[in-house]
């Protein structure tokens, strides 16, 4: 199974999880994307 990384688009925005292969990463890097940490897990809604 290929490794996965999170990438953020130029100028900020929603990170995307992608396969860490050169075919996918290189065009993204060239287009200005950069690696970012995984987004924090969302907390489940509180039960009443």
């Amino acid at each position: 199974m290929p490794d996965m990384v999170f990438m953020q688009p130029p100028g900020g925005g929603e990170p995307q999880e992608v396969e860490a292969t050169p075919d996918i990463l290189v065009p993204m890097l060239v287009a200005g994307w950069r690696q970012c940490p995984p987004p924090a897990p969302q907390e489940p809604p509180e039960e009443e």
Binding site: P10, P22, L29, G32
Partner: protein, 338 residues
Amino acid sequence: MANIRELLIGFGKGKQTNITTANILAQIWRLAKLNVELANPRYVTENDAAELGKGHEFATQLFKSHIESGPHRLEKYLSSEFAAWLVAFGLGKVVKSGLGPYTYTCTPLNLPTDGLELPYFSYLEQVRPGANDVRDLMLVGCAIKGWTIEINSGPGRANAKATVEFVHSGKITEPSGITLPAATAENLLNAYSLACTINGVDYVTAKNFVSLTMGWDNAFRDTSDFYPGSGQQDGYQIRGRMEVGDRAPAFSFVARFVDGSAELQKVRDLTTGTATIQLTRDANNSLQVTWQKLGFAVAEVGETDGIVTVAVTGQPMYHETNGLLSAVVVTPVDGICQ
């Protein structure tokens, strides 16, 4: 008296948070090098010789100006560890993946989105560090000006070497306050493992390959680094930034020239294609550099050790989707340029 072979060097495998904040010990590794030059910062002074009002043309006072430091050279046998550091800091953009070994996918900065500054690192030199040290200083805020990878015919480690030139901001910590860790065990990428396809030709399978040189120059803008507010060290101005200029790639190789060799025809036809250069020690240690669109600018037939060869100067070009070049390094070391 101290022997130059006592020289210890260490530098940040991780990047500094900014140009003025030194790497911490946990980010620093110690490696060996080949060249004997020391990384000497040069304190530049000026004087009043040209000023009027003294009655003569001689200097009467010295003034502090600035610190020039670099380019300093690091010459090493090529290893997966050093290759990862070189392309990550030298190109500027890196994605780390994997849980060990780690894969570093690197490309040059995209200037509109990434800016003009490369990641910075600290560089240490020590000779008998401690209370009676001969030399112990840390150069804070260094960036790679350029790098070269050479692959040559012949046995031994020297058939695959890397040279890095780096420039230093001028900020110095002396003594460094750092106790260097044990030397990192490096996994060499010798030339015997070369796989190489250039512009549609697999030169290794054909047993025709002789040598290759590829490199990168970040062409720093130099004087604009000394801007108002850039900072000082001992009253001498230092660089507050190092910005890439018109970056220059380099690619050339020599191959045996045989019946059917098409290098001259490719110059005439302006043929372009990719060039993929790969060195592999094992599954945990490799380097692959891909020049995304390469033409042949010059091809000249000559001789090497009595064999007819062709020397080709490549012209790396920008590919709309994949850029100029990418480098993928697999190595056991975590945290490079992180």
